[in-house]
């Protein structure tokens, strides 16, 4: 019987030997193959790579990225581009993956992030990304980007990322037919907006289309901007506007009032569903970032006929922006490749390749307007002339922790409708995760 034992043991040993050689066999093969050319073509070849991490995996975003990679490939023929994109809306999955990679000390060379506090509060404070002031100076980018943009993407005087595109958050979309049928003008102030929505509601039209929770946060930030004005709104994020003040109470009351004009099934609608309500004539207004223009173009609708746009009420002359930008990792495995990538991302050629396809405008103010559609041309004009403010929902003005606390407070408010409790929670959020002390 001990024979049985020994034969089993031998069988196991044999099996593990096979497994080990199978694993071991595959591994040495590739280094051996790579080792030969590396010796011939000098040490630089090892660095001739760049791994870029993003959540652009579908639609216009992925197509835009491909267009920019093409520009990169033409300029840096000997640098291999490794596209490390992770799927998942607005990057929630990608950021979880990125967080684990950074904690494991395995950063990609450059990664996508919303310009502003989302990058700064997380990665700059965490010591994960390098300042890019030298690159900005060398490429002259400060001169071609709006003056009011630079402080919003800087931390203690250093600039940390290269914005590739610009989206506008404070856009109000409307259905021109529904408005004219009910004798309503496009409102420019909060009061005009409320009056218009009263008229529409009396006529049996849903005045404002709204979607799931993040679109509610998006609506909140535009109402705060419209109600407080850009100076007081900006002050919320640097601590100079008191969250407990009466003007914030008034703004939150406005927001509570705006919610009374919305569709009852908001929680079950995506932003596309809500945009669709407007062009179908089921609702008059919708507040959404200007990616809605890209969606309407996809639906083959005609601008100013099927849909119209205006800055959200109370925010005329202000461009509330958000931007995707690229970073340089501290300890990037291929710093030269990363720098080459950032140069392309900030260049006129790179941005002109990316943005018309993605449906956004250039962060640079010198792109050729003729490459863009009707809506985007109007956005470019405003980008060059308006005051620039940052978006909350899309990571410009508040760090991730602060934003998630505000989001929780908003969710509790929408369920309970208690303005005083909402304001208390916002004050507490600023104290725990923002600049308020």
């Amino acid at each position: 019987m001990s024979k049985k034992f020994w034969s089993s043991l031998i069988a196991i040993l044999l099996l593990s030997a096979v497994v080990l050689t199978a694993c071991g066999g595959a591994a040495p093969e590739s280094p051996a193959e790579e080792a030969a050319p590396a010796e011939e073509e000098s040490m630089e070849m090892e660095d001739a790579q760049v791994e870029v991490f993003s959540w652009w995996t579908g639609g216009g975003e992925a197509a835009g990225l491909d267009a920019m990679i093409e520009v990169f490939g033409a300029e840096y023929t000997d640098v291999e581009f490794v596209n490390a994109a992770v799927a998942g809306g607005a990057g929630t999955n990608a950021r979880a993956v990125l967080a684990s990679r950074l904690q494991a000390g395995d950063p990609p060379d450059s990664w996508q992030g919303h310009a502003g506090q989302e990058l700064i509060g997380t990665y700059v404070v965490g010591g994960q990304i390098e300042a890019l002031n030298d690159l900005y100076d060398a490429e002259g980018w400060v001169d071609v980007m709006p003056e009011t943009l630079i402080p919003l993407i800087s931390h203690e005087g250093n600039i940390y990322s290269v914005p590739v595109n610009i989206h506008r958050a404070n856009v109000m979309w409307y259905n021109p037919t529904v408005l004219s049928d009910n004798g309503v003008e496009v409102p420019a102030t909060m009061d005009e907006w409320f009056a218009a929505m009263d008229t529409l509601q009396a006529a049996g039209v849903t005045p404002l289309a709204l979607g799931e929770q993040w679109t509610q946060l998006h609506l909140l930030e535009t109402v705060l901007l419209g109600s407080l004005g850009s100076d007081a709104y900006d002050g919320l994020w640097d601590g100079s506007t008191d969250w407990a003040s009466a003007e914030v109470t008034a703004a939150l009351d406005d927001f509570a009032k705006v919610l009374t004009y919305t569709n009852s099934d908001a929680a079950s609608l995506s932003w596309q569903d809500a945009s669709q309500l407007v062009v179908n004539g089921d609702a008059a207004f919708n507040v959404m970032g200007d990616w809605a223009a890209g969606y309407y173009i996809e639906l083959e609708l005609t601008a100013m006929e099927d849909y119209g746009w205006a800055p959200t009420p109370g925010s005329v002359g202000v461009f509330q922006f958000l931007s995707d930008s690229f970073t340089l990792a501290v300890g990037a495995p291929h710093p030269e490749g990363a720098e080459a990538w950032l140069k392309v991302a900030g260049s006129k050629a790179g941005q002109e390749a990316f943005n018309p396809v993605k449906g956004s405008i250039c962060a640079r103010t010198d792109c050729d307007p003729s490459l863009f559609g009707e809506y985007l041309q109007s956005a470019m004009e405003d980008w060059g002339s308006n005051t620039v403010s940052g978006s909350l929902t899309h990571g410009v003005v508040a760090n991730d922790s602060w934003k998630s606390e505000i989001d929780t407070a908003l969710g509790l408010f929408v369920a309970g409708q208690d303005v005083a409790g909402f304001q208390d929670a916002l004050v507490a959020a600023c104290a725990s995760s923002g600049p308020c002390k």
């Binding site: 019987m1 089993s8 929780t408 908003l410």
Partner: protein, 293 residues
């Protein structure tokens, strides 16, 4: 001698999995406990001792109160619904009707589907839109003139979670049916016949004989469904996305850790979840181990 050698062999064979379980389950539980007692917020680990701060904060956190309420509603509706429906289906199938195998498979099929797929299908069915945009079950009710059944489903304030539980019942009641059916088949016919001879009604037979004999099955179903409902996550995400009215501890843990970078708070929620599942599972494991001895 021989017995000893078999023992060595079995130890050698299972030692890799024991090692893996020690590291990846118990090691990480220990690490999570440590993180939950720290001040870690942001990307970089921070193990500064914070004591029970995170736990105390959770107990006064209005969002966590919503989570507890939702978990209780979901667990109650889902566990009771699945057990009652599963039992009724099993009793009906046990009557020896024709084509039993076909029905059994039909009732079991939903279990083969992932929660995500169930969620997407029920998201369409439970569409809360009104008026001309009405669709799904509401449209069906409306066109059958059953207007009183038209409702807001998961967007109903407070009780929206019960709508999510309906989808979970649809998925899991076939499983409880299979459990009960196996239990029913194990009850000897002589028992029923003896009861009938003694003049017991069918209801009395089920009430006094069958149900008591099925107690171990009911207990297993309760434990299995109960611990599933405490961990529910994907079904809610697929039906409703991340909405605070339908928040549960698992979603809060995920959002606060990866979106908000409150690692210590996320770890505290995770540990509370583990404790709540353990309260359910550990007595059950002890009970079954005793039963096996």
């Amino acid at each position: 001698m021989n017995k000893n050698k078999d023992r060595y062999l079995s130890i050698i064979l299972i030692s890799p999995s024991i090692l893996a379980v020690l590291i990846f389950v118990y090691g990480f539980i220990g690490w999570s406990i440590r993180v939950s007692l720290s001040d870690w917020k942001g990307l970089n680990p921070n193990y500064t001792w914070a004591g029970s701060k995170n736990y105390l904060a959770l107990f006064s956190d209005p969002r966590f109160h919503v989570d507890i309420r939702n978990t209780l509603i979901f667990t109650g509706v889902f566990v009771i619904g699945s057990i009652v429906l599963g039992f009724i289906l099993a009793v009906m199938l046990d009557q020896g009707l024709k084509g039993e195998g076909i029905f059994r498979s039909i009732f079991l099929f939903p279990m083969a589907i992932s929660y995500i797929v169930t969620g997407v299908v029920w998201r369409w069915l439970m569409n809360p839109a009104e008026g001309s945009r009405m669709s799904g079950l509401n449209l069906l009710f409306d066109s059958l003139n059953l207007d009183f059944l038209v409702n807001r489903w998961h967007t109903t304030p407070i009780w929206g979670m019960a709508a999510i539980a309906i989808a979970a019942i649809w998925q899991m009641s076939g499983y409880t049916m299979a459990l009960y059916l196996a239990g029913l088949r194990a009850i000897p016919h002589e028992l029923r016949e003896a009861a009938r001879i003694d003049g017991a009604s069918e209801f009395q037979i089920y009430r006094r004989i069958i149900l008591p004999l099925l107690t171990p099955i009911s207990l297993s179903a309760l434990i299995i469904l109960g611990h599933m409902s405490l961990k529910v996550f994907d079904l809610i995400i697929a039906i409703a996305g991340k909405q605070l009215p339908l928040d549960v501890p698992a979603i809060y843990m995920w959002q606060t850790t990866f979106d908000g970078l409150f690692y210590s708070r996320g770890a505290a929620i995770g540990i509370l979840l583990l404790i709540s599942v353990a309260v359910l599972i550990i007595p059950y494991i002890r009970y079954t181990l005793k039963a096996e001895d």
